[in-house]
Amino acid sequence: MSAVPVLRVSNLTKRFHGVTTLDQVYLDVHAGQIVALIGPSGCGKSTLLRCLTWLEQPDDGFIEVAGKPLGRELMPGGVVRRHSRRQIDALRPQVGIVFQQFHLWPHMTALENVVRPQTVVLGRSRDEATRRGAELLMRLGLADRMDRHPHALSGGQKQRVAIARALAMDPALMLFDEPTSALDPELVGEVLAVLRTLADIGMTMLVVTHEIGFAASLADRIAFMDRGRILEEGPARDILAAPKEPRLQSFLDLVRTDHRIVRTTANPTE
């Protein structure tokens, strides 16, 4: 394993109208790791993901993807140099993101959704892009859905197309924003299975979720975020079994009680 982390976030800070959403965030994700980012809603998890694709410009701090600076870099002599849109776009395919609402292009078929960015951004030939797209969709169990438009796909299928679209760019890192929240609860297992297949091919992933059970069964490491800061980060088992940070402790308690409530209300006869 190389020493250079696939993702290195240092001192990342983002303010919206004077409110600090990200407060000096530090995070390293190494090759092949699956890191779950948990925390109460509004704690900055999604903002962090958006900063990692430069959809939001952090006010301070640095992002490195596979050793290459994204968005801005520290030059020798302490000068910070901002990157142009072109430079940022060149690195963006390295970071695949799957949004909560997937955001597929509705005017293209599933296959075309996966093919188009490869030809436009990576300059692949149509044949090559189609081959790669079909192969990915097939692997994600969508062999018979390739010619459908997104409106004719189920939520889970749309998500897999979105995953294929990002994977086709051969990213070093995949980001998932709440992959279970836009889907029916019974599909959680399916999402888990899909993410596990990605893990099997050695994909590095950062997954934002508020489902502790999902995080526990998927992630190698868990990072807990609250009020814009990563308060605790470590191996998933340790974090869940023996949280040190009191806020993480109370968050876990809260979420676990919530789950019990959900379960009892879902099956009142039990």
Binding site: R86, R92, P93, H103, W105, P106, H107, P117, P150
Partner: protein
């Protein structure tokens, strides 16, 4: 002087051949309006305050004054500032300019219905801005505003009749010439109205077919 069907039929060939002028001009105008309207929409979407303020003035002028006056301005006023245009060029410019504004206004309306998330997803994949416009936004936008564009096309076709007043020999001017020599305005005016009606019915019909084809690709 009553209505004579056989006279109407006898002048129809001349009117139909004159309709080729209207059709040719209308096609040129619509193409110009689409290209310029798209360009205008893209410029406006950059939200540069000073530029958009200027555009707003132009738009309110175009929307608030009669098309006929705009045509007169293109033909009679522009030569005063050194732009001496032929009747056809002046007419095409005036109507295309007018139509560009309406195309851009309806595109702006359609733009609001395109989910911003798609644009973010495109950005995150590394698509440069021009590719996002060409591959993601515009294809959806055009499909969405097909009904408006069809409507605009019929307005443009009717607008070409106005060019008869700046000496373009179109359907209306031809029928006026026939009427003034035969003293039969009834049949000639009915004839030219019919020509426009047939053209516009054909446009509406093809528009409806296009709409049905695109409906499948809509979310």
């Amino acid at each position: 002087m009553g209505f004579k069907l056989d006279y109407l039929l006898s002048i129809l060939p001349r009117l139909i051949s004159a309709a080729a002028v209207n059709l040719r001009l209308a096609v040129i105008i619509m193409l110009l309006a689409l290209v310029l309207g798209t360009a205008l929409t893209i410029v406006r979407s950059r939200k540069i305050a000073a530029v958009n303020a200027c555009i707003a003035v132009v738009i309110s002028f175009v929307r608030g004054t009669p098309l006929l006056i705009q045509i007169f301005i293109a033909y009679y006023v522009l030569p005063a500032v050194g732009l001496d245009l032929s009747p056809e060029v002046a007419g095409v410019s005036a109507i295309a300019f007018n139509s560009m504004v309406f195309v851009s206004e309806s595109m702006r309306g359609g733009l609001a219905t395109i989910d911003a998330g798609q644009i973010e997803a495109s950005t995150a994949l590394g698509l440069p801005p021009h590719a996002i416009w060409l591959k993601v936004v515009l294809p959806q936008l055009f499909r969405r505003i097909v009904p408006v564009l069809i409507n605009e096309a019929t307005i443009v076709v009717k607008g070409t009749a106005l060019l008869s007043v700046i000496t373009v020999v179109d359907v209306l001017r031809t029928s006026q010439q026939i009427a003034s020599s035969s003293y039969r305005p009834f049949e000639t005016m009915i004839g030219s109205a019919l020509v426009f009606l047939v053209i516009n019915l054909a446009i509406s019909l093809s528009g409806r077919l296009a709409e049905r084809r695109f409906a499948a690709a809509r979310a």
